[in-house]
């Protein structure tokens, strides 16, 4: 496939036309896989011998934590595309994704806190992972606030893209700084995806379905919200032209 043909979808009108057809399918797939994954995980998996039934929280905690980071990465990529190629759809997709990422971060933090209470005996610990997610949440808030604060859409797109780039570097620095600052309680290996062999198959397959569900849900929401942003943008452009007569 010719790579240049891909850029055609960066035309707002073409984007709306294409996503019109794709969106229902993605939405249905997302709902189905979320229901399958969560039902499978909640009703048909055994308890962990150490963590008891709290292991079921994994089906929400791990996918949302993954998405919290991946959404930011997606915003970084689309910001770069905006800076380099100046496709408006790209900048608007980043804007559309940010609230989703923020909600994912909140879910990861909330489920983490609820899970931590019985396991570690505390709702909140200044553990490196938890702290990093809190900082990530602050980055999302700042990014969204900057979008909201600026009237001119192109200016807002430029500024938020640069903030996203600079923020990514500093988020990474914070991650290392926080690790250095406190070694932490969070079990890295047994539940994280980097060492998948440590998660028994009974937990692993429903988890995979849940992750797929979260990814699909994110795609569906991003498409929907990007369409909204494109329309809102066109609306503002038309109104501005009306005013100028």
């Amino acid at each position: 496939m010719n790579l240049n043909a891909l850029w055609a979808y960066a035309n707002p009108k073409k984007f709306i036309q294409t996503t019109e057809k794709v969106l229902p399918w993605v939405s249905v797939l997302a709902v189905v896989s979320l229901i399958v994954g969560l039902v499978w995980g909640f009703f048909f998996t055994p308890d962990d011998y150490r963590q008891g039934s709290t292991v079921k929280i994994i089906y929400l905690h791990v996918p949302s934590a993954l998405m919290a980071i991946n959404v930011w990465l997606m915003m970084l990529v689309t910001s770069l595309i905006w800076i380099v190629r100046r496709h408006h759809v790209s900048a608007l997709a980043a804007r559309a994704a940010a609230p989703i990422g923020a909600v994912m971060t909140v879910i990861a933090l909330a489920t983490g806190a609820i899970w931590g209470q019985p396991m570690w005996g505390t709702w909140w610990a200044w553990d490196p992972r938890l702290t990093s997610f809190l900082i990530l949440f602050l980055f999302y808030l700042g990014y969204m606030a900057l979008w909201e604060a600026i009237d001119n859409d192109d200016t807002a797109a430029d500024l938020t893209s640069i903030l996203c780039l600079v923020g990514s570097v500093f988020a990474l620095l914070s991650r290392y700084a926080v690790n250095f600052w406190n070694q932490g309680l969070h079990q890295g290996a047994s539940l994280s995806l980097d060492k998948e062999e440590n998660v028994a198959d009974v937990f692993w397959y429903p988890l995979l379905v849940c992750i797929a569900g979260f990814v699909l849900l994110f795609i569906a929401l991003v498409l929907l919200r990007t369409r909204t942003e494109i329309r809102a943008r066109r609306m503002r452009a038309l109104l501005a032209r009306e005013r100028m007569g």
Binding site: H88, D154, R234, M244
Partner: protein
Amino acid sequence: MGLNVSNLTIARGGVRVLEGVSFTLDPGHAIVLRGPNGIGKTTLLRTVAGLQPPVSGRVETDPDSIVYAGHSDGIKATLSVAENLQFWAQVFGETDIETAIAAFQLERLVTRPAGGLSAGQKRRLGLARLLVTGRPVWILDEPTVSLDAEAVAMFAEAVRAHLRRGGSALIATHIELGLPEAYVLEVGPYRAVAAEVDDFDEAFL
């Protein structure tokens, strides 16, 4: 070193305001831009001065030959008149501020803090800044706001002297400056034509 603008299209807030603007400004000449409010004169001047990129078209000039003066003069209230001018002279690598002070009759005000000047005096100080920069192409947006008749004459004389030295000026204004030798450019005919509503693309219009 002149200024050559060809087929320039400019936008304000994402909406095209002027398109196909072309003109040439040669050394020793002045162009006065005229047109109703909101037509895009300020945007045009800012684009020519390099503060914002054009939608399409070209501005050919040496960026180191241009000095821009907008609606506000960049005057610091706590610095004296002489300190304000000295600062801008240093930024542009010049030293002489006496000529500028004399041209706008600021002699009696040099030690006064700029915050204590009247609006017209501030404007004169802002215009005197043009002289201390030593740059040949002046780009002026409504330079005569809050000036009285005498000060307008002062300004016209300063522009005329500047043109005699081989400089040039691009001025947006509503009033008669008393510069009969200046070429008047009406920007009204360049007003951008709105595109078809249905056919929307990257510009969302």
